[in-house]
Amino acid sequence: MDATTLCNTEGRIDPWTPIYFNPTVSIGWISADPDDLMPAQPEPLIYTFTRPILNPVVVGSGDVPCVGSPGEVIAHTISEQTVTVPLQIIDPSDCGLDEKTTGYISPPIITSDPIRAIEIMPPSAMQWHFEYTITACDDDGSNCQPVTIQGDPFAHVGYSIYFRETPIDEPTLTVSCTPAAVVRRADVRCLGHVTPARPYTLLRKQADAEGHTYVDDRSEEKAAGDDVDWSGTAIVDTRVSMTVRITTTTGTRELSGEATFTVSPETWPPFVMPQRPTPIIATTELPYPPIQEKNGQDQIPDGSLGVMDLYYDGSTPVSVFSGPNTNWFYIPRSVSLASADIFINRALDANDPFYKAQTGTSPNQVLGIKYCSAGDMQNLRRQVIDHENAHYDAYITYFAANDVPALFERLHMYMDVASLGQPGVPTLKDTWGPYELAQAHAGVDAYQKATVDSKPALIRCKFRYPGGPR
């Protein structure tokens, strides 16, 4: 079969022009006349619709034979099913002795699926011979004689297809996120909605935020009317996109849509400093015996004889486990100050062997090393406590003037949970720790250094190492 599409181009319907009910398309001529404008076309004609149609009726007009088969119409559906119907002579009474008539018609072609193409099989007789005898008489009825009439007509027929347009069927995927402006840590819900409702396959969900892309490409079959629902905690401004595969009357296609949501910070309560701590003797918090030297100078390094510890409560990051912000780590709730401690080295405790070993320089010594005395140790203890209390006061001052909770509130970092611990993947401790330090602690640390650590406790004598089991 020659699947020519000779005239299809002429008859093609532009899908973007208005489609009228019961439109018609003419698809060409089949002719046996070699001199006809169109070449002889005894082979089937195939017309492929740019948009599938319903209930077509094929009409062939011209000079067509009453003899033989008028041909047939084969409808090809979008599901590759075929339905064949015969063409029939429109007016059998028109078939006279010349065995010609004016056209064929098919019954309406009813199919379960829309029809994508029509194939028209030509009449079986393209040329034929007729011969018949009539009795011819004069006008007065006399002189009657048999007369033989014969001819070699040829068929020529042009076809029109009447059809009903399928309903407009251009499905769309609409993605929306609500609320579009969300406060951090609240839930955001992103929906993918297919219109008109029909079954589809979810292929991919993707979230892009601050240069990081999270993809969930687990395929999922969805029933008609079911939305893609991607919900979870919102941490960072995000662009969400979804891709679905859907079968329409014109075939299978992939549709994509996207939406965005923006995230604004929560307002967290200001820090309230815990009650000023009473200094306590350190057990494991400070080095023992104490260190007296820093950078070659007789200076008490911070953290040697005393230290002030501030405990932040709730500063442990967690990760989002579902929704567009999956894998983003953040601080889940407002950070507060749980407690404060001031530790002093047990070497500054009068009952400690190290303290007791500081007996000072002999009263007769004039030159040489000046060893610390009990009085020096008392003075040192007082200096250390004052120094650590100054740290406490500096915290109060700084927190009153700076919204440090806001710095914790906005901490967020992308880390692929599934790849945690794999070679080459930065660890959470290596990334979050320095990040938190730089973002939330750097300011107050600098302030402490500038205002308190610039005035270290000074010691003007040497420690004497006690030695031996005590």
Binding site: P287, P289, S304, Y311, S315, T316, E388, G433
Partner: protein, 210 residues
């Protein structure tokens, strides 16, 4: 006799701040370290044990060897106080042999959970004390424990990072750490964390190393 020489040399190098105060002290520390190393290595209850623990971080690689031996010997122990002392030494002595012992015990399924958690603290000190500024020390075993979130499948230990100090002094150095110690820690942590048959407390604790 050579052993005495080595111990003395390490004390000279490693106990610099104290030795700067005079030769008499350095000789005393050398002598103290010999005794402290013996006490810690033997691991037997001793009236001088508390003193030995306060000295051992001054003893350089000999001190590191002593606590490494003590940690390996304590792998079957559930003595919380003793194991806490061992782990706490990691705060003040950074030593390659101690690190190796901690890596060994932390990954040993036949060791007690109590011992493994303390070994993990030593590993955590190894990484945390290498950072500047030093944060989140000292480390308690409580800091490492957490239930696992039913949704994310991740634990939420604080890892002790909520504690911020106004000053931290670095540890004394013992024998060198392996150059790839971070990779060794990461490999161990990943193996344990991904093995759901490991005790939950150990899996939670290694999350602090990931």
């Amino acid at each position: 006799m050579p052993r005495v020489f080595v111990a003395g040399l390490m004390a000279l190098v490693l106990a610099g701040p104290l030795l700067a105060q005079g030769g008499a002290d350095s000789a005393q520390i050398t002598s103290d370290c010999r005794l402290a190393v013996r006490i810690i290595t033997n691991g037997k209850p001793s009236s001088q044990e508390e003193w030995a623990w306060s000295v051992i971080q001054l003893c350089g690689s000999d001190g590191g060897n002593a606590v490494a031996t003590a940690l390996r010997n304590a792998r079957s122990s559930s003595d919380v106080d003793y194991l806490d002392r061992l782990a706490g030494t990691g705060r003040w002595l950074r030593d390659g042999n101690f690190f190796a012992a901690a890596l060994d015990v932390a990954g040993d399924r036949s060791a007690t959970v109590t011992a493994r958690l303390r070994a993990l603290i030593v590993l955590l000190y190894a990484t945390r004390l290498a950072q500047q500024p030093i944060r989140g020390v000292p480390i308690s075993s409580r800091d490492l424990l957490s239930a696992f979130d039913e949704h994310s499948g991740l634990p939420r230990p604080t890892c002790g990072l909520g504690r911020v100090s106004t000053g931290e002094v670095p540890p004394y150095d013992g024998s060198p750490m392996p150059t790839d110690y971070e990779a060794k820690i990461a490999a161990l942590a990943t193996r344990i964390f991904r093995d759901t048959t490991e005790p939950q407390d150990v899996r939670s604790a290694v999350f602090c190393l990931m």
